[in-house]
C-alpha cells in the first residue's frame, strides 16, 4: 500500500535568526551605500586599480594563449578575462572574451565540439586587443561583431551535422 505524507518546509523569518545589523543601523548603512559621495569615491578606487587589473587581465591572456586546444582551460580563462577586462577599462578585450565564453557555452549546450579555428581567432583577437589598448575601437567593434557572426555560423553548421 502506498501512503502519502506531507513534507512541509520550515520557514525561518528574518527576526528569528541573528541579523548582521539592527533595523536602525540598516537605514544608515543603506543611505551610505547609495550615496553619491560613496559612488564617487568608489569610482576613483576602480580607476586607481586600473593598472593592477590590466596586469591581471594580461596574465590571464597569457594563460589563455598557452592553453592550446584544452577547451576546458580555455573556457575557464576566457571567463576570467570577461570578468576582469571591462572593470580594467579593456572594453574590446572584454567583449571578445564574452563572445568566446558564449561560444563555449552554446557549443556545450548543443553537445558539439567547438571549432578550432573559431577558438583560435577569438584567442588571437583577445591577445591583440589586450596588448594594444590604443587600437582603434571602431576596428575592435568590427572584429568582435565578425567573430560573433562566425561563431554563430559554425555552431549552426555543427548542429546541422550532428542532427
Amino acid at each position: 500500500m502506498t501512503m502519502k505524507t506531507k513534507i512541509k518546509a520550515q520557514v525561518i523569518p528574518p527576526d528569528a535568526y541573528p541579523q548582521m545589523v539592527t533595523k536602525a543601523q540598516a537605514a544608515g548603512i543603506t543611505r551610505v551605500l547609495r550615496s553619491n559621495v560613496t559612488a564617487v569615491t568608489a569610482s576613483r578606487v576602480i580607476e586607481e586599480s586600473g593598472d593592477s587589473l590590466r596586469e591581471a587581465v594580461r596574465a590571464y591572456v597569457g594563460e589563455l594563449e598557452g592553453a592550446g586546444l584544452d577547451f576546458e582551460l580555455l573556457s575557464e580563462k576566457a571567463h576570467e578575462i570577461r570578468g576582469f577586462a571591462e572593470t580594467a577599462g579593456m572594453m574590446a578585450t572584454g567583449r571578445i572574451a564574452d563572445g568566446l565564453c558564449r561560444y563555449f557555452d552554446d557549443a556545450c549546450q548543443a553537445g558539439v565540439r567547438p571549432d578550432n579555428a573559431v577558438v583560435a581567432l577569438h584567442v588571437s583577437a583577445i591577445g591583440r586587443t589586450a596588448r594594444d589598448t590604443n587600437a582603434l575601437s571602431q576596428m575592435n567593434d568590427v572584429v568582435a561583431r565578425e567573430l560573433a557572426l562566425l561563431a554563430g555560423r559554425k555552431l549552426a553548421e555543427s548542429r546541422r551535422k550532428t542532427s
Partner: protein, 170 residues
Amino acid sequence: MSGSALEHLKVLIVEDNQHMRSLLRSLLNSAGIRDIIEANNGTTALTALREKKCDLVLSDLAMKPMDGLTFSHAVRTAENSPNPFIPIIMITGHTEKHQVEAARDAGVTEFLVKPITASSLFSRIAEIVERPRAFVRCEQYFGPDRRRRTIESYAGPWRRHDDFQDLQVQ
C-alpha cells in the same frame, strides 16, 4: 544611527585572484568597511569563518581546491558551521543558467556578475541589509528563501505546502 555601523562590519572575501581581492577590499574600504579578512579558496575560508566571527561573505565561484558552491553549501549545512545564516554574495564571471541555479541551490544570498561595478556591489549589500530574507529548511535545502516575490497570477501548485512523498507502508 549613521552609516558608521559599516565600520563595525566584518567581511570575508573569498577569491583566488589577488587583484580582485584587492579591488574588493578597496571598494569596501571606500564605503567605510575596514574589518576585512581574505581567503583564497573555500577551504581556507571555512577555517577563517570558524576562527573569526564575520557578518558578510563575498565569494568567487571558480576556485581550487574548494569552489564557491561547495563552500556556500558547507556554510549552510555543515554540522560545525559557525553561522549557517551568514549572507553570502557570489561574485562570478560564470553567468550560465545552470551556474546561477547551482549557486541559488547552494544557499547563496545574492549573485553578482563580473565585471563588477561599485554600484552593483553596494546595491547587493544594501539589499541584504534592507530586506533580509527568510530562511527555508526542507529535506534537500537550507538557505535563503528562493522565492523572491509572489506572482499574483501564478496558477501552478503550491509545492511548499503540498509536497508529498511516496511512502511504502506494509
